[in-house]
Amino acid sequence: MTKEELLSKLKTIIEPYVQNQEGLQNMSEDTNFIEDLEINSANLVDVILDVEDEFGIEIDNDGMDKMLTVKASIEVIQDKLAAK
């Protein structure tokens, strides 16, 4: 899977939880889920569960720790996909 495909899948996953739509339009690798997209911190669990379902991976606690930005999430997903 290319990075662009991964990014687009991630964007679809997070969209329902985003409270700042402007942040979503300007989404880049540096985008922070809580600060920039105003995703409720309890909804990050849903993002993680959705990512697990979509990519068929399991995100452990070490992966979860990092999943606050687009960039870190892509890295975590790529790592888990590579280990599959």
């Binding site: 669990v45 849903d46 606050l68």
Partner: protein, 180 residues
Amino acid sequence: MIGNDIVDLRLASVQSNWRRKGWLQKIFAESEQNRIWDAEDSNHMVWKLWSMKEAAYKAHQRLFSLSPKYNPYDFICTDSNVTVHNYSYQTVSKQTENYVYTIAYRDQTNFVSKVFTDKSLQYKNKLVYYIANIMDVNLSAVTLQKDRNGIPCVKIHNKITDIAISLSSHGSFSAFTVDL
């Protein structure tokens, strides 16, 4: 050292389905899950424990100037204490029909906290007003900002102070805690 967190229970029930498969397991230890299922009102208990973890996270992040991390499972609630690694925080929670509010603290803190239920979300202005009064300075001299880790801090006459504050808002509710 202090941290606070407020949960609007009505908004939480719209935003989160904690009964979703795997949801509780990502955040709560087995002992905490048992506490949730044993509770008279499991929904209230979910959000009470969540607010305890969030409040303790904020106090812990401030104590060690930690960069942001998503690790709610590292914060273990036992009675009204929250332990993270070897550090323990005491908490006090207020639960009403509409919200759960928790303050986490450590050591000899002398905090003041206020919850706003008027939807106006004026909590930041009210905190500035409170600090200006206590420190006996002009309102315009007090500003709030976040440091590079996103931890809120107080500036007076453009100088960073060591006043510990914590801010939280969710739905119709907001709150500040300040340790002077």
